[in-house]
Amino acid sequence: MQLVSKKGVLAAAVESETGVTLIATEPEDMWHANNLIAVGDMVKAPANRKVIQTSATGTTISERVQTMLTIKVTSTFFDPAASALHVSGTVAVENQYVNLGQYHTLDLELNRAFTIYKSFGWDSVALQTLQEALDDDKPDATVAIVMHEGLANICLITDFQTLIKHRVESAIPKKRSSAKDTAGGMTTFYEKTLSTLLRSGINFDTPRPLLLASPGFVAQDFRAYMQAEATRRADKQLQRIARDAVLVHSSTGYVHSLNEILKSPEVQATMRDKRFINESVLMDKFYAMLRSDDGRAWYGVKPVEKAIAEGAVGRGGGVLMINNGFFRSLDIPTRKRFVALVDKVKEDGGEAKVLSSDHESGQRLDALGGIAAILTYPLFDLDEDEDDEGGAGAGEGAEGDESTTII
């Protein structure tokens, strides 16, 4: 993402009334733009619009015109597979083709400037997102194939999202009298997976890590198959890919097994600095604290809000985790409320992490309601008022006893 500004300075651009003009240079920039553009913002971008003109005699001429449109955003739609962002809204600035208030959907394109006006100014979360978007130093995305017998998910893990490029499914004959069928079925499956991987448009010209994860021996066998194929085809690149592939254990071939993969020692060793690894580690830490039930891990809007109000998420290990999807879909007052939470945590000296809901860690956070916090000191009964019954306390006590015996 590039900033188009006379001065080229972010601060100045943000403060000016003219809005922030950006050029998306990579597909992933669309994802950033999706996070930047909120409902109620104004977006100015070149647009194609079909205009119907009626002459004096009543004949109509329909033509496609290219024009600059400014719309007030009512909704956005992001297609992760195509990295396409569609912004819908009502026309805010009239011109010769369109009237005020007409609806239009802008399809933001790569390498074409668009301008975002924030009607209520840029809040801290938005600024942070913008900064991340403008960060040029981007590591390569990691390619991972998560598989089990008959299922392979080919994923592209970037800093901000996990893209499922392809999903390969193949029926493997189960063990019957002849084992030949099964072996044949597995070979077909590997063949399918490999050709899909090579066709997927993932560029292996520059060396990039490939993670192969599976339960049992599927990943191992797949690598062996790749090597055999590379030798047979005398394909140097494939040989290199097979050689560099990292084998990881996962319990299933579903995408959510990426959690296991990312926290595996093999991956940790090679990709320690990656953002998604940090997020994943953070989530694991949160889950571990939740299990230990020491009153320091809380999830859900109300308990977290209360904890932050008490200043429990602060200096010395306090972490607030919010999904960015959470911000995207909110109306302005609610968004402001959560921005205030983030600001409060930062003020208190805690960490505020906006997790990408397009990563596995974000998905896990999503399951917890999109917001969670690790507290600096234990707090109990934050969820008390959510319970309708008075008998909750007894249950809590019983749980406490159990936890000591079982763990």
Binding site: K175, G216, H256, D383, A392
Partner: protein
């Protein structure tokens, strides 16, 4: 002036007079017995007619009775048709029945006689006033019919009706041979018709009897009868061959002339009606035989066709009208057949053109499967899953079991041993009986469930050899879901038992319990490695028993057998090791026989989880699995969920033998037809199309937690079904015993507590209430429960 009038004026009166006198004579003088019968009959008819009785006079009833020779039913029917509810179509003129025209003659002899006398008395000869001129009516059919020996027209109509019915039938039936059958039937029918002509004989018989009775009183007419008999003497002699026909015609003729003499009837009164008598009636021959010269008028009178030449006889030498009709009918029948066949040909060809599928739908035999099952004297079937920690010796033990039971021969095992030696894994030879995949052999680990069968005297067992490795627990779950009971194999060698208890020994027993298996046989394996130490056995027994009862197994459902899977001690045969002499209990196979399979849900709607999909010579798509509930039979329609596609059972196999039906609890191979293989996957459920299983993507589960549960991503396992999902919410924490809500919306569920949780799946899968579901996360079983 026509000759008709001549005839009427002159001869008819005389003759009728003569006849009527005779007739009158016998009418008013019934015998005393007859009077009694008459009185009874009258009363009976009146009661039968009930409300309608007022419409008929006593005289009419008596007349009818007399006429029908005291046959009350017939008389009543006649009265009803004649006086109470006269049917216009059944008028005497139609000649529909013999009875009616005759009755009309009998009932009105006096008036007709009188009228003839009056009619011409004052008439000038030749100058008849218009009003007196007769209106010519077509000759009465009854006579014609009688002359022909049968009422041709009505017979025809009946036949036509039948023919029409046949035709319709023929059109309905498509197959050519059906038409052929119809044709044959048609031919038979023609014969039938001939014999049916004779069916009127009883009536005629009645008349002949009546003639007999009247004889005694009708002495007076004898001379005339005599004269007549001489007149028709020649034909009578011809008739001798067919007396019944003569009786019929003769008796019928009583109406117009008392032509019969008793002499012709009495000699053979009891003779059965001959069958082959459909030629021109004898009477007709009698009638139209060369008329004797003295009575030319009489002949003329009898003939309604006065101009008939003597060649009529010739006419009767030809096939009678009946025969003509019948042959025509037969021909018509053939025609119908041809018509039918051509139209059916067209239809079948059209249908063929319409058909897309070449293979016809399998035909269902519509068996009552449940009663078939009850009646069958088959051995009880049971399946068991073999579980335990990795390398506990499950596969080897089962290989040994199959070898000892003779399911696998020594030669096969020797061959396997050779192969195993090649890769330096001799000890795996027995396991290779079940581990057939190349990866399994190369790595010495069971990966997928292996199925095999053996039979004892009492029971047919299905072995489900489960993998012990933690990565293949999904496969183990698939196996456990098909099992009635389980064998938990424990490695007794030092250290192995301890590590197993922490590992899959624990997880497997938790899983099989939560899959609903309640009976468990613990095989303490590899005891030979510790010298058959009883202490070791007792130690293991104590620990495992405590652990199993903690898991929820009842003590009576747990059995322990010390054995050596590799050597086969206490497996099929009792051990001969002196060191193991302390054990006197049953062998493993005996323990298995003692295990009762769980009750089957036979009468529930069909449910079967597909555990394998493969291709066979019988069908491009065959599936196997264990029927969870209900029953099925050949030709049944099935619904495959979640694809929602319909399929038909082409054939069924059980224990590698074809069968017609199968019920819950049996492991079957089903060959499907009319479905594309892409719609059928492992883990799908086949069900009754009338009562399909629902496909859900959200469900509530009453789950027992084995690990901490919180909103998180999980794998959902149900039998072979394996789907990704997440715990959406935890609705409530429940009391383990009472099931009452302890806490609403807990943040986290601790291990060993029961909670009601809501699970969302990534895609819709077939699930229904009451099914057992296992939740796993990160390679660990986190919960198991019952779908609500």
């Amino acid at each position: 002036m026509s000759r008709h009038k001549d005839i009427r004026n002159l001869d008819y009166n005389e003759v009728v007079d003569e006849y009527d006198q005779a007739y009158d004579d016998d009418d008013p003088e019934p015998t005393p017995e007859e009077r009694v019968i008459m009185a009874n009959g009258t009363a009976e008819i009146r009661s039968m007619l009930a409300g309608e009785a007022s419409k008929v006079t006593k005289a009419q009833i008596e007349e009818a009775l007399w006429h029908y020779y005291f046959d009350v039913d017939k008389a009543a029917a006649y009265l009803v048709s004649k006086f109470i509810a006269p049917k216009p179509k059944k008028t005497p003129q139609n000649g529909d029945e013999y009875a009616i025209p005759m009755v009309s003659h009998i009932a009105t002899p006096n008036t007709s006689r009188e009228s003839f006398a009056h009619l011409f008395r004052d008439l000038p000869w030749g100058n008849i006033p218009k009003d007196r001129e007769t209106v010519f009516i077509a000759p009465q059919r009854p006579r014609g019919g009688l002359l022909g020996g049968s009422g041709a027209a009505p017979r025809m109509s009946k036949l036509q009706m039948l023919a029409a019915a046949r035709k319709q039938k023929a059109e309905e039936k498509n197959a050519q041979e059906k038409v052929e059958q119809t044709r044959v039937k048609m031919a038979e029918l023609a014969v039938d018709e001939k014999s049916r002509v004779k069916e009127n004989v009883p009536l005629a018989g009645a008349f002949s009897k009546r003639l007999k009775t009247s004889e005694s009183t009708a002495e007076g007419r004898m001379p005339l009868a005599d004269a007549e008999s001489t007149a028709i003497e020649l034909p009578h002699q011809r008739m001798a061959d067919v007396p019944e026909t003569s009786t019929t015609t003769a008796s019928l003729l009583t109406t117009s002339a008392s032509s019969e003499t008793p002499t012709h009837i009495i000699p053979e009164p009891q003779r059965e009606p001959p069958v082959a008598a459909a030629q021109p009636s004898a009477f007709a021959r009698t009638l139209f035989g060369p008329p004797p010269p003295p009575k030319p008028q009489l002949a003329e009178f009898f003939s309604p066709y006065p101009s008939l030449p003597p060649s009529v006889i010739e006419a009767f030498s030809k096939p009678s009208p009946d025969d003509v009709v019948l042959t025509a009918q037969a021909k018509a029948g053939k025609k119908t057949k041809k018509k039918g066949s051509s139209s059916t040909d067209a239809v079948t060809s059209e249908v063929k053109a319409l058909k897309i599928e070449d293979a016809p739908l399998p035909k269902s035999r519509n068996l009552n499967v449940l009663s078939e099952f009850e009646n069958s004297k088959k051995k009880k079937t049971a399946s068991f899953v073999v579980v335990g920690h990795v390398d506990a010796g499950k596969s080897t033990m089962m290989g040994r079991l199959l070898l000892d039971l003779g399911v696998v021969d020594q030669r096969t095992v020797d061959k396997l041993r050779q192969e195993a030696e090649k890769i330096g894994k001799t000890s795996f030879a027995l396991a290779w009986v079940l581990d057939q995949r190349s990866e399994e052999r190369a790595r010495g680990v069971t990966i997928d469930i292996a199925t095999n069968r053996f039979e004892t005297d009492k029971t047919a067992f299905t072995i489900l050899d489960a993998p012990g490795h933690r990565d293949f627990i999904p496969n183990m779950i698939a196996g456990a879901s098909q099992a009635d009971f389980a064998i938990l194999v424990i490695d007794a060698s030092t250290g192995a038992f301890e590590s197993g208890l922490k590992g899959q020994t624990r997880e497997h027993s938790l899983l099989i319990r939560s899959m609903g298996v309640s009976r468990i046989v613990v095989a303490v394996n590899k005891l030979d490695t510790v010298g058959w130490s009883q202490e070791r056995f007792e130690e293991i027994k104590h620990q495992v028993h405590g652990f199993l009862s903690g898991t929820g197994f009842q003590s009576k459902n747990i059995a322990f057998v010390p054995l050596s899977g590799l050597r086969g001690d206490n497996l099929v045969r009792k051990t001969t090791e002196p060191a193991a002499g302390w054990y006197t209990g049953p062998t493993l196979v005996e323990e298995l026989e003692n295990s009762e399979p769980s009750a089957r849900a036979l009468s529930k709607p069909l449910r079967m989880t597909i555990s394998e999909v493969f291709r066979t010579p019988q069908s491009p798509l065959s599936i196997s699995g264990r029927i969870d509930a209900g029953s099925l039979q050949m030709g049944d329609a099935l619904l495959v969920q979640p694809s929602g596609e319909k399929a038909y059972i082409k054939s069924l196999m059980m224990d590698e033998e074809p069968t017609d039906w199968a019920v819950a609890g049996q492991n079957v191979v089903i060959h499907l037809s009319n479905i594309d293989p892409m719609h059928v996957r492992v883990g799908d459920i086949i069900c009754d199309p009338a009562k399909p299983i629902q496909c859900l993507d959200t469900f509530t589960l009453k789950a027992l937690a084995f690990d901490f549960l919180m909103p998180m991503q999980v794998d959902v396992h149900r039998g072979r079904l394996h789907a990704a999902g997440k715990i959406e919410a935890i609705d409530a924490l429940l009391d383990k015993v009472t099931g009452s809500v302890i806490k609403k919306k807990p943040k986290v569920v601790k291990p060993a507590s029961v909670a009601r949780i809501r699970v969302t799946l990534a895609s819709k899968v077939p699930l229904e209430a009451g099914q057992r579901v296992v939740l796993r996360s990160g390679g660990e079983t986190v919960a198991a429960g019952l779908l609500e």
